[in-house]
Amino acid sequence: MTPRKRRRVAFAFALVVAGAGGAALVVAALKDNVLYFYSPSDIAAKHVAAGVDFRIGGLVKKGSVVKGPKARVRFVVTDGKASVPVSYDGVLPDLFREGQGVVALGALSPSHEFQATEILAKHDERYMPPEVVDALKRSGRWKEGE
């Protein structure tokens, strides 16, 4: 092998090793940081453990929103079949409404209350998060054109 060729082979080898290392990193990081999405029915069916972060989505049950003490907000998320109580400390997004779709990020407490760290803002009132549409379809509560 000429020196030039040897260097090329070494370079190609280094590139393959670096590529494999990078791919392994991506896969490992992805595995640890995936957030699942569950509807209230899923939570009942799948026995989601307390303390595991996930996203919940559904409709804010009418008449369920209780504000206070302080900046605490409690409400119930429902997909028509099952419902889950949610509590959140903070400022609600502008488009948060009773009877409307909502997606929240957080984890279940040991008492099976969902403690939200983030309520995802909808950007447009005509818009319904696709996950919520899907969850409502599965529970049979979605009517086209609604």
Binding site: V26, A29, L30, L35, D89, G90, P93, D124, E125, P130
Partner: protein, 639 residues
């Protein structure tokens, strides 16, 4: 009338861009001068007619012509003029028309600049024409902006109030100038493969367009991030939202391309690699267009959830990427291999830069597409959390920033590493002092912050040294000034990100009038809410007096606005900045009895995030300006 003019102009544009594609590709053959002239004429005509169509739609929006469906659905008579204009691209149809307008603008500029020889220009116009024809067809068949509505409504439905913001009015045109501008590099790369004899010229020919696209993308992303910061009321500036990622990926590839093509122009190194990057850059732009415009993602950018449109964009995406890669596989083996270089050389640094940037792109691409792929394949719905991106992005950028200062001080082919080290010692000193100072002064003690400050001062210090050294040697040209500014901008942004993430303070509470909220060393006294009237909204305006260690600083007035036309509520945050630190106050919801929830942040160094972006863009602009100026001077004696 306006609608008909626009529609007819679009049909003419389709005819001309088809001619541009055919004649341009035919003109790539030796001796086909006639076809080349036709392609040039068609490209200019294409631009003129798309401009006419775009002008017609803008006129429709400004005059509130509600007989056009698109105007009726997205405008309102009470909207201020600037938002009537920005409403043109604040919807699916209009934004696609803006897309094609920018493409035709680049086509016209490529024709006028005629860089890299007649054959290369002709082939590039041909490729650009193919892309243009596909998108005009897409507009005419699935997203006609000039569709009529009968009977004509008396009032429009209005524009999403979140989009009624001066920063966001400029964000889409900037982003498109960048996104779509990458089509020029793509077209020149494909043209080099088609003609087979422009291994180095193409990179030189594409450079001003590459730079323009990069500058616009940098500014577009900076504006978008700034908007998210002050409009969404979360106090954050980057959310690793798929839509943000869709803009970040082309930017990362464009940055890699700007660097690798430097070597291609200069020594002929990385010829094939640069071609691939040019193809990848525009491919990612198309993927971004698909993600944002097809409605597969939930965001403010998803105007319409029409699966048919998504499918058509997906087909165009496949054709463009597949076609370009097939062309590459077919022609690339015939091109000569790259030039040789020693391990300690500028080429090696550019290679490392490219590897790290490509790793970063891969990380973002996987994180963005994995949830979509999983949902399509198994129906399982997941999302990828921000920690994934931060975990992988941070090490790649740390390595990148450690290496950045070496690039400009190693020479081409065979550099002197010990010399480079000696020159960088003052920057190393600055980095050490910055790190120690942060550890000594800043509380809470954070090793991450100290490391980030060292890194930022290492990069900024090296840029300053470069500036002085080149100035004294009278070697400060557009290229070196651009590298000084762009690299320093990176360091400035890093300072901002560090401050705003590691040292931020946050406080939330429900306040009655007269009560105070403390955040960091500020105290905010809530003096109640008063009604206020805007041009097309009613607001509840909070009066909040701010003091810092008992010194009165003034009053901030965050608002909650209700837009009756759109029936939507939007918060308007108040940000008080001294250039180094932001006090950020958002008004929450009413809690009865005059009590309101109030959220406040202190974000130290936050303004540096966007200042850094602006400095980076300025670097690109300096290079572009010098390049254009030199060209004009060179042309002048010949005329």
């Amino acid at each position: 009338m306006t609608g008909e003019i626009g529609q007819v102009a679009l049909c003419f544009a389709l005819a001309l861009v088809s001619v541009q594609a055919g004649a341009g590709l035919f003109g790539a053959r030796a001796g086909a001068e006639g076809a080349r002239a036709v392609a040039s004429g068609a490209a200019l005509g294409f631009f003129a007619f798309v401009a006419l169509a775009f002008g017609a739609l803008t006129y429709g929006f400004v005059t509130a012509d509600f007989s056009i469906l698109d105007v009726a659905q997205n405008s309102h008579t009470l909207k201020p003029l600037i938002y009537k204009i920005s409403g043109v691209w604040g919807n699916h149809e209009g934004s696609m028309l803006l897309w094609i307008f920018v493409l035709s603008l680049y086509s016209a500029l490529m024709t006028l600049a005629a860089r890299g020889g007649a054959r290369l220009t002709s082939a590039a116009l041909g490729v650009q024409g193919l892309v243009g024809a596909a998108f005009v067809l897409f507009i005419l068949f699935t997203s006609d902006p000039f569709k009529r509505v009968d009977p004509m409504p008396l009032e429009g439905a209005g524009l999403n109030p979140l989009l009624q913001d001066p920063g966001l009015a400029m964000h889409p045109p900037m982003l498109y100038l960048g996104y779509v501008g990458l089509s020029a590099s793509f077209a020149y790369a494909a043209a080099a493969l088609i003609t087979g004899d422009a291994e180095r010229q193409w990179a030189r020919a594409a450079r001003p367009f590459m730079l323009a696209a990069w500058i616009a993308l940098t500014l577009g992303i900076t504006l978008g991030s700034w908007w998210a910061y002050y409009v969404l009321g979360w106090g954050g500036f980057w959310f690793w939202d798929p839509v943000e990622n869709a803009a970040l990926m082309p930017w990362l590839v464009a940055t890699a391309l700007l660097h690798s093509s430097l070597a291609t122009e200069r020594t002929g190194a990385f010829r094939l690699w640069s071609l691939l990057l040019a193809i990848a850059g525009f491919s990612l732009s198309l993927i971004g267009t698909f993600l944002v415009r097809s409605g597969v993602l939930a965001s403010v950018h998803a105007f319409a959830n029409d699966p048919e449109r998504g499918a058509v964009i997906l087909i165009m995406l496949g054709a463009a990427i597949g076609g370009a890669l097939a062309l590459f596989a077919w022609r690339a083996p015939k091109l000569e291999g790259g030039a040789e270089f020693e391990p300690a050389s500028r080429e090696t640094m550019l290679l490392l830069n490219n590897l790290l940037l490509c790793f970063a792109v891969t990380v973002v691409l996987f994180g963005t597409l994995y949830p979509l792929a999983l949902r399509a394949l198994t129906g399982e719905m997941i999302s990828v959390g921000a920690p994934y991106f931060a975990m992988l992005f941070a090490p790649a950028f740390v390595a990148l920033l450690v290496l950045v200062p070496f690039g400009p001080r190693l020479s081409w082919r065979n550099g002197n590493l010990p010399d480079a080290w000696r020159g960088l010692l003052p920057a190393l000193g600055a980095a050490g002092v910055a790190g120690i100072a942060v550890l000594a002064i800043a509380r809470p003690v954070s090793l991450a912050a100290a490391g980030a400050f060292s890194l930022a001062f290492w990069v900024i210090g090296a840029s300053a040294i470069d500036f002085w050294r080149k100035r004294q040697a009278r070697m400060l040209n557009g290229q070196s000034l651009a590298s000084v500014l762009a690299h320093a901008g990176l360091g400035i942004t890093l300072l901002g990100i560090t401050g705003a993430t590691l040292w931020r303070s946050e406080a939330v509470d429900v306040l009655s009038p007269g009560q105070t909220l403390s955040v960091a060393d500020y105290s905010l006294r809530f003096d109640g809410v008063e009604p206020a009237q805007g041009p097309n909204y009613q607001a509840s305006r909070a009066i909040i007096e701010i003091r810092k260690s008992d010194r009165l600083l003034g009053v901030v007035t965050p608002e909650k606005r209700i837009y009756p036309a759109e029936g939507q509520e939007v918060s308007n945050t108040s940000i008080r900045t001294n250039g180094f630190s932001d006090l950020y106050v958002a008004l929450g919801d009413e809690r009865g009895g005059g009590r309101w929830s109030v959220r406040a942040f202190v974000n130290p160094l936050a303004p540096f995030i966007w200042l850094g972006g602006a400095v980076m863009a300025l670097g690109g602009f300096v290079r572009l300006w010098r390049g254009v100026a030199v060209r004009v001077v060179r042309l002048a004696p010949a005329e």
